[in-house]
């Protein structure tokens, strides 16, 4: 996997992060800010006020042409025919086995032009996979447009008001999982009411050249509400509290969409998509294992990769786990046999040679109060 000859990529905001004294680390081939003022502080700022994230490492793959919708319908398990122009949909790219190539956001830019936002570590894989799959699907072109976009996520209860001060786009009219185009701080941008933190907020797609000035404008606009720059460390603990899956941890090409608990993303009414037959059969027969959420009952923090034991026998591994700053407890996710998926079921997590008791609890762990 790791190729030392490959230089880590830097986002347009790299200089900003260094100047802010961020702790930087490699992530998905990029040198990214992990934390600025402290993970817990940043996490709490997003839950209680607002945070600003540079997530320019995310990939953007555009799919256009008369047959673009047909192509999306084939590669993505959700039903893109339901998307209006200006709407966003969460979905998974599926393998013929019904497992997950990647989880993506599908943006409908126009009737025959879509944009998929994909995980940084999967950009090359997804681009190759999609290009291969759509070859026989007629008039459609697939472009890896990742280098054309910087991406800033402003998240938290005060995030929308902070960005509203900088744009003429009426954000009150912008519904959840919809997007609009306009200017932010004088720069052309696509503003999307989406995020990966469990809070309200927007994600702003920009040209890399304009990222720096817009970043600073958001920092300035957010100062009065307590907005903080936030790193990928807080992004991970925020998404885990909100029970959002992380590709490579909580799902991958060895877990099906249903096992990962993402059955709600499947467009069952569609006639077909890659892997639909396997998923339909699995739905009819029932899955044998499922991703569950848990909390630690005994002292200890479960981490990704730690063994999960039932009656002393290993039945799986923790896929994500941490001590969460806002909920203030140790939580995680793991695949358990379907008989053990019910809240209240107890099992052990082996933490560095010692077994500690954990209990299945309902997800999401954290859900924001909607106003």
């Amino acid at each position: 996997m790791s190729d030392t000859s490959k230089v880590l990529k830097k986002t347009a905001l790299y200089g900003r992060h260094k100047a802010l004294g961020a702790r930087m680390a490699p992530f998905g081939g990029w040198e990214m800010p992990i934390e600025y003022s402290g993970l817990t502080k940043e996490h709490m700022a997003v839950r209680l006020a607002a945070g600003l994230f540079d997530v320019s490492h995310m990939g953007e793959i555009e799919i256009a042409g008369v047959d673009a919708l047909a192509a999306i319908q084939q590669i993505s398990c959700n039903d893109a025919s339901k998307l209006e122009i200006g709407q966003v949909q969460y979905s998974a790219l599926t393998t013929p086995k019904g497992t997950v190539v990647d989880d993506v956001l599908v943006y409908r830019l126009s009737s025959d032009h879509f944009m998929l936002v994909v995980n940084a570590s999967n950009i090359a894989k997804d681009h190759a996979w999609i290009s291969q799959q759509v070859k026989s699907l007629g008039d459609v072109i697939v472009v890896n447009a990742s280098a054309r976009y910087a991406l800033l996520a402003t998240q938290g209860p005060a995030a929308v008001e902070v960005v509203q001060e900088l744009t003429g786009v009426d954000l009150a009219e912008l519904r959840y999982y919809h997007f609009s185009t306009g200017e932010v701080a004088g720069q052309r941008a696509t503003i999307s009411r989406t995020g990966y933190t469990g809070e309200d907020g927007v994600e702003i797609y920009l040209s890399p050249q304009s990222a720096d000035s817009v970043w600073q404008a958001i920092i300035d606009s957010g100062r009065s509400v307590g907005l903080l720059p936030a790193g990928l460390g807080a992004r991970d603990t925020l998404r885990l509290e909100a029970s959002m899956r992380l590709y490579g941890n909580d799902m991958d090409e060895s877990t099906t969409v249903l096992e990962a608990g993402l059955g709600w993303t499947i467009g069952w009414e569609k006639r077909e998509f890659i892997g639909h037959d396997v998923l339909r059969r699995q739905k009819a027969d029932g899955v044998k294992r499922k991703l569950v959420g848990f909390e630690m009952v005994e002292r200890g923090i479960a981490r990704a990769g730690y063994p999960v034991l039932l009656s002393g026998k290993q039945v799986g591994s923790v896929t994500s786990g941490t001590q969460t700053p806002f909920l203030g407890k140790a939580i995680g996710m793991a695949y358990l046999p379907i008989e053990q998926r019910k809240p209240g079921t107890e099992f052990d997590v082996e933490i560095r040679g010692r077994n500690a008791r954990a209990r299945v609890i309902a997800m999401p762990f954290y859900k924001r109060q909607r106003s």
Binding site: E35, T40, R299, I301, T322, R352
Partner: protein, 123 residues
């Protein structure tokens, strides 16, 4: 920055000796590197530790690190306050001891870094 009443290990533990007893904690530099500490796992009282042996683990939200004993000795107490207040390691690292030891050979401490050498080793 680094108090000169004590010695330091290359693994970023400090050790201070008073009345023939040693207290061990981690340095300001170490806590900065760790970030917000949320969990400290300490050993049983009575355990015999060799110099360089792992005596516990410390976890920040993001990562797990091991704690290394800077000298050979026997544990006579562990700081139970850290069960409920692991954040003390961040706020007052040089006042927050983790274990107290009776030493087999107090002269071992002399082989550790003094404040000036430690300070320059992390620059």
């Amino acid at each position: 920055m680094y108090p000169d009443d004590r010695r330091y290990s290359k693994d970023h533990e400090w050790i201070v000796i008073t009345d023939g007893e040693a207290r061990v904690g981690i340095t300001q530099y170490a806590q900065e590197q760790l970030g917000d500490v949320v969990y400290v796992e300490l050993p049983e009282v009575g355990r015999q530790l060799k110099q360089g042996e792992i005596f516990g683990t410390i976890e920040s939200v993001k990562a797990v690190s091991e704690l290394f004993c800077p000298v050979t000795g026997k544990i006579i107490a562990v700081n139970a306050d850290l069960n409920d207040h692991p954040e003390l390691v961040n706020s007052t690292p040089h006042e927050t001891w983790m274990i107290r030891l009776s030493l087999d050979d107090p002269s071992q401490v002399d082989s550790l870094l003094d404040a000036v050498s430690y300070g320059s080793s992390i620059e």
